[in-house]
Symmetry: C2
Subunit: 129 residues, 2 copies
DNA sequence: ATTTAACTAGTAATTATTGCTAATAGAAAC
DNA sequence: GTTTCTATTAGCAATAATTACTAGTTAAAT
């Protein structure tokens, strides 16, 4: 009946999660790979991807897609908004509170049932403007 | 001085643009390829991608990224909001007006200079709810 | 300590997208 | 209409992020 595989906390998974929780740069899988390699030199890139997918499914982290070239990952699983600088390409967290009423507005005005949303701003960061 | 290459309106580009303007499904490059092939059987997939990129750069269309697996394209270049169904995976246009004041709120509350934003809702469409 | 299946390292495979090149064809100038 | 110029194309090769596979390993429950 309950066939969900039980997730184990391996040292690889723990290290990946710690690296991601301790940065604000919204890194790529490859950046995480380079960081974790300092600690576990023979870790496999496949292990990075597999764990990022498991952690995202468990809602321990978030996946952010920017373009079809690669994904970025976010150690903060709570919905929050991002700013993407068009010049330096960095992704920043915004301090805005989450507008929960946006979902409600959709649910009132349309026949869709919105459960969550993603809001991304594009422009120039303080250093690039 | 002015070294922008002049864009030509080839029959391939015209057909791609027409196909994209005449659908609301926010198709993938491959779907567009299949449609245009009915009209221009020996068109190359590379031509599809090259033209979609040119058209997007010219702001004739929009590129929507959902996950790192593939991009979807939108024949409406004006900012508008989308709804992504978690079950059938279809992407719908929402009739909500664009909240231009969201950019202004960021510009007032933070040091970032927001020029535009993207807002995507996730949940279940009328048929799947 | 034993057991079991989730997990890993290493590598191969997949696939969306881009790069390359000789030939073609818009469209501007004549 | 003809010439000229160069953006564009078809066909195919290359790239690169991500996933799949497999034999061996290990977390963790009993
Ligand atoms: Mn974030
Ligand atoms: Mn749309
Ligand atoms: Zn910047
Ligand atoms: Zn649906």
């Amino acid at each position: 009946m309950n066939n969900k595989p039980k997730t184990r906390m391996t040292k690889q998974r723990k290290a990946i999660l710690r690296v991601l929780k301790n940065t604000t740069i919204h890194p790529t899988a490859d950046w995480i790979y380079e960081q974790v390699k300092k600690e576990i030199p023979n870790i496999s890139l496949g292990t990075i991807y597999r764990n990022l997918n498991v952690l995202a499914k468990n809602k321990d982290i978030m996946v952010l897609d920017y373009g079809s070239t690669y994904s970025r990952y976010d150690g903060n699983p709570e919905n929050h908004y991002h700013f993407h600088c068009k010049k330096c390409e960095q992704v920043f967290d915004l301090e805005l509170p989450c507008f929960h009423d946006l979902n409600e507005k959709v649910n009132e005005d349309t026949n869709f049932k919105a459960e969550n949303h993603r809001l991304e701003f594009y422009g120039f960061c303080p250093d690039c403007r």
